[in-house]
Amino acid sequence: MANTISFCSETMKQYEWLLTRYPTRRAALLPTLRLAESDFGELGVPEMRYVADLMEIPPAFVFGVVTFYTHYRRAGTGKFHIQVCSTLSCALRGSEDVVSRITERLGIKPGETTPCGHFTLSKVECLGSCDTAPMLQCNDDYHEDLSLEDVDQLIEQLRTEAEGGQNG
């Protein structure tokens, strides 16, 4: 299976720099996947295969690593990936209600993506922001100290952004 994708020259430069920072090539896999994610937009089969071939490690190993973590954008993830923290502090402060509200508003359960492809909802483990529980991460941004009204507002805002992006 020949790869039709490859890193752009800027990313390749970053990758080569990364290799100098780790004792073994394999150890640089996590940040390399980050690079791939930002360069290709998501980590689907061709992207994982590309990284495996580039780093000369078995594709199955890359597959195992990508699926182990919740924070990589796998193929089919919506434009906005909403990850609701559901570990202890957030759970005590009502993360279940946050999830239910999102489910109600978007019509998707955790692990699902809306048919329009705009939203993916996940329940994830601790995102390290216990002092501002309950919280969620949408793509790279944290939204903290959430009330249900905040959730409604956020979804409206994202929806506008998604549809605006689509029309424009």
């Binding site: 089969v45 594709p59 199955a60 190993f61 890359v62 597959f63 195992g64 699926t67 182990f68």
Partner: protein, 543 residues
């Protein structure tokens, strides 16, 4: 291990305590290995002697005086003054708790699981597991799918021990398998569109401690406790991997590798493993024929006697599938017909393979070339064979006895087939139908390698005992070992028929290369022909 050896070549020993008893074990051993040597078997799932230590299943926890928490005995090494308890309250409760965790998501599908009866989880559950589950939540559902052409995974049964993954990384070196997802959703999988399809893949099913990896070849074929087992040797190549042949009602159902650290470790290749299907192929021969007409088995032996009694010098064409015992009988026949000559045919070489672990598959796809060369001389497949073919072509012999074994081989080539059919009386022992039977006077069904009882010598010169997968009641025809002896009796060169062990004793008494060996001393790893068992009388051994 090198670090166990001191300069004077004695093994350094460590004193430690096992369940209150002072014991000594070789330095550097793990607690699990050392305890096993002292008769205490600590349960394990992820540990396998042929693989690296993962230490992830935790069932092997024992109590140690060096740690407040229990330690895993598969990776912890013994040390001077170490005190280990395997049956203390802490050890037992740790084991039981691990077992309860292993079982919370495991389905209760033993009645339909092919692993049932030889399942480590089942065994440990019986001994260490709770008799009921406290788990009231929903069980996790994980994928059931094909991982490759010969293997599927039943994800719900997987306990994520990673044995199969380590096998593909370390032994076959192909790394097709991985664990996907995390926590209680983790399960074995392959990269999309890269199936597990290597020459050793079948071993992953053997080492799976549960029924998660299932071989398509054996799926729903038999319950393991109903099968009979014979310790045999694979005849697929000159490596001679030790195997266990499992049969149900006389039919082979499965071949499993048998541990032999001198030959095949714990593994075997898929070519050998699945080759048994050819025993029951359409071209398999079980009916004797004389000039094309079917013969009953006893009449076939009688016809053989008659043809040989009437004959002058005989040309014998042997194959490298015959056991040393069968070859000895052929040699006896050749010696009784003055002017006879012996040559052999070899099938074409197949693919050889070497794996990172040192496991090898030989290109020579037959089990006993070395034996033939010892018994008939090292030119039996070389100059002698050329000579024999020449004399057959020029019709120097009126009778030829040929052996065409090897159910996986394509048989003797065209030129041999031509020389056989041009000889007036051709008697052919054949495992299957083929062009070499064209115009044969007498066709006798022959045994395939795993149906033979006797010994072979592998490419390293290791003499190994193989046992027939047939039991006396299921033999569909007289095996060569019996038929050739009956013939020798009729020709007056033998007084009584013997077992394979008895024939081997005759061989050892007449051939210097075999002197001092006998069946009962071979043991399961076999012996290099050069390592003679010490102090064994030549007529020792059993029949």
């Amino acid at each position: 291990m090198a670090d166990q050896q001191t300069n004077d070549d004695t093994v350094a020993m460590t004193r430690w305590q096992l369940n209150g008893q002072e014991v000594e074990s070789p330095t550097g051993m793990t607690i699990m290995e050392a305890a096993k040597e002292h008769g205490i078997e600590i349960p394990c799932f992820c540990y396998h002697p042929g693989l690296s230590i993962a230490g992830n299943c935790r069932i092997c926890m024992v109590e140690s005086n060096r740690s407040r928490k229990p330690v895993i005995s598969c990776s912890e090494k013994i040390a001077e003054g170490l005190e280990i308890e395997t049956e203390s309250e802490l050890a037992v409760s740790s084991r039981n708790s691990v077992m309860e965790f292993q079982l919370i998501n495991h389905p209760l599908d033993c009645p339909v699981c092919d692993k049932a009866g030889e399942c480590t989880l089942q065994d440990h559950s019986y001994k260490h597991g709770p008799d009921r589950s406290r788990f009231v939540e929903d069980k996790n559902i994980r994928h059931t799918k094909e991982l490759g052409p010969s293997i599927s995974i039943w994800g719900n049964r997987c306990i994520v021990c990673t044995r199969c993954i380590r096998f593909c990384d370390e032994i076959s070196g192909t790394s097709e398998l991985c664990i996907v997802e995390r926590g209680d959703r983790s399960v074995v999988d392959v990269f999309p569109e890269i199936p597990i399809d290597n020459q050793l893949a079948g071993n992953t099913v053997d080492i799976c401690p549960v029924g998660a990896l299932i071989s398509h070849d054996f799926k729903y074929e038999a319950r393991v406790w109903n099968m009979d087992r014979k310790d045999s040797v694979c005849g697929g190549c000159s490596r001679g991997c030790n195997v266990e042949v499992e049969t149900l009602d006389g039919f082979v159902k499965r071949l499993m590798p048998r541990e032999n650290l001198e030959v095949n470790d714990w593994w075997m290749c898929d070519e050998g493993r699945y080759g048994w299907r050819h025993l029951y192929a359409d071209d398999r021969l079980s009916q004797a024929t004389r000039d094309g007409a079917a013969l009953a088995d006893v009449s076939a032996t009688a016809a053989l006697e008659q043809l040989l009694c009437e004959s002058g010098p005989v040309a014998f064409l042997i194959d490298p599938y015959l056991t040393c015992e069968e070859m000895h009988l052929v040699q006896g026949l050749a010696a009784s017909r003055p002017g006879s000559s012996v040559g052999g045919w070899l099938p074409e070489d197949g693919n050889a393979a070497n794996f990172p672990s040192g496991f090898t598959i030989s290109a020579a796809k037959y089990p006993n070339r070395a034996g033939a060369e010892l018994i008939f001389g090292d030119q039996v497949f070389g100059d002698d064979a050329k000579e024999l073919q020449k004399s057959l072509v020029s019709s120097d012999f009126t009778t030829v006895v040929a052996f065409c074994g090897g159910h996986l081989s394509s048989g003797p080539g065209e030129s041999w087939a031509k020389s056989l059919s041009s000889t007036p009386t051709s008697i052919i022992f054949s495992v299957k139908n083929g062009p070499w039977l064209e115009g044969a006077s007498l066709v006798l069904p022959a045994t395939a390698p795993i149906e033979k009882d006797g010994t072979w010598i592998n490419e390293d010169g290791r003499l190994q005992r193989t046992r027939s997968c047939w039991s006396p009641g299921t033999e569909p025809f007289s095996v060569e070992l019996v038929r050739l002896q009956t013939l020798q009796n009729a020709l007056g060169i033998r007084g009584r028929s013997l077992s394979a062990a008895g024939i081997f004793r005759e061989l050892a008494a007449t051939h210097d290369s075999f002197a001092g060996h006998n069946h009962s001393d071979l043991g399961s790893p076999g012996l290099l022909l050069s390592q003679r068992p010490a102090g064994i009388a030549m007529d020792g051994g059993s029949e």
